[in-house]
Symmetry: C2
Subunit: 361 residues, 2 copies
Amino acid sequence: MKPYEHGGNVYDYEGEIIDFSSNINPLGVPEWVFDIIKKVDLTKYPDIKYRKLKKAISQYVGYSQENIIVGNGAAELIHLFVRAFKVKRPLIPSPAFLEYERAVNINGGEPIYFRLEEDYGFKVNLAKLLSQMEEADALIIGNPNNPTGQAIIREEIGILLKKAEILNIPVMIDEAFIEFMKDYKNYEALPLIKRHNKLFVVRAVTKFFGMPGVRLGYGIGSPSLIQKLEEHKEPWTVNTFAEAIGRELFKDKTYIEKTREYIHREIDYMLYALRKIDYLVAFDTKVNFLLLKLKTGSVDDLKQMLLKRGILIRDASNFRYLDKSFFRVAIKKRQENEKLLQSLEEINMKNLMENKERVVI
Amino acid sequence: MKPYEHGGNVYDYEGEIIDFSSNINPLGVPEWVFDIIKKVDLTKYPDIKYRKLKKAISQYVGYSQENIIVGNGAAELIHLFVRAFKVKRPLIPSPAFLEYERAVNINGGEPIYFRLEEDYGFKVNLAKLLSQMEEADALIIGNPNNPTGQAIIREEIGILLKKAEILNIPVMIDEAFIEFMKDYKNYEALPLIKRHNKLFVVRAVTKFFGMPGVRLGYGIGSPSLIQKLEEHKEPWTVNTFAEAIGRELFKDKTYIEKTREYIHREIDYMLYALRKIDYLVAFDTKVNFLLLKLKTGSVDDLKQMLLKRGILIRDASNFRYLDKSFFRVAIKKRQENEKLLQSLEEINMKNLMENKERVVI
């Protein structure tokens, strides 16, 4: 993997591949989306102020339109936060989504990292994190965190925010995966925006609804923070398709509930099976992907062997503090998950150790 | 108008409005686009490297894929250029597209301006421009220029580039409207990228094809310049719809030719009629929009009176060096153009001067 390479890049491979490398809702795109698409008026610019879209989001999250900004996926909003606040030295609990670090580097900064310890199940040690914040000019947290699948409960987020207020530094919490959580209401930071002017909560939309290619994200914060971000934002970055779909998505409560139920049933199923495979460590997760570790051998070999079976996994070695023993897989449809499990079972650990599988198969 | 407000913002107004404020191809969206849309696979991320899209553009412009970057409209690429080259003090022949200035301001800089003189038909005085370049850290030119509709011929662009090379400053030429020109081949800067490493040519795609809401632009430059920009670029900014449509657009030579023919026939028709209206000055144009000037009165009044007739014009007073006597209109369908002409004729100049029209009508 190159330093900032992401998952989901099936275009590097030929033939039919099941993509476990990108964390997309496996339930597929809601049917009604196709009707919306047919009716989109291509001949107009999107509303540069995205009034109707913001209204739909406002109704979903329960905050005013003044609290909301929309973007070309969560990625645009992450870069925007870094630029608008001139973030040069944020503290990032890591391993973490690579785009945080990249955004800071592009902006001429260099993050500092809080190491999420494997021995601690990649959970945050709050006291340690609080003390390390003193060196930082911002705090950037994935919650739940990618690729670890762990999350910080709101009470603890609140403590971090109080510290941030004393230090007068902005905080971005990336909740791109929060809707996949069973008990997301105990984790989402939204209720804290009223007390914390410099808190920015980022959400992805189209990812959860199985349409990462449509590119729609939003962010929530105080009116003053949102205004600052709008002043730095490029115009029309959410196109007419994303705008039209986004105006309807949040109404589909059935899809949202069904997804959560499905994911958590499937996590249990997957973890139970993966933990029977003796060359793997499967870490707990709160969301729709799993971090896995090879007890022996390299993910390069495993990845090749799985590709031969039409399966793409996410080599996790370009995440900070992880190495060639780590990989990430998304939760997919039952049949696809079974194919992954079966393939992982088939791949003989002894051969993997001796790196002979390529000859044997 | 607010400082950075653009045209095309029909969402500020209620009811059916003919939008002369945004410069969109009036021929409408090519029919085949709707078939493409139906087949778009929403469930995948776009190719983060946009290989097939770049290949299509490569074939259209006749330069290699290494010379090409794609973006969320021309706007993303304009901002990207400013950021990647840390442009703080570019020279901008003005009045010009407002997003150049905004991008520089957001980036903490302050442009310097080369004044395009009304008495000179808003054309560039090359000698003067060359001498002013010495104060600048970059050159940004709209060619053809918005809102003036004027353009600099390639020989003169070549002279500017030689000067830029001596000064070692980057040059961005925004050719968003160049395909609307009859004799664009004498104006496009593309052949100069081979000799000038720091030349970046920006093009809009979906605007020309009547789909500004789809958001697709591209830029062309030396491989080293393109690589520098890619390093600063946010991921996946062109969504799956724009990617899929963009892969086919450039093949539609008929649409491209038909557009050019139509626009220039219509410019002649419009200019002839507008120049008979005694309270207006209509400037020459090379593209699909016209800059107009009121000999008396304010565009605020004219705009209100036209809105009552269901017509939206672009108040041009927030463009540098223009004032409340200037406005811009796009070339639209014949019937719509006729409605504009008829409305302008109806509006009595004397009443306009005395600002009584609101009562009379």
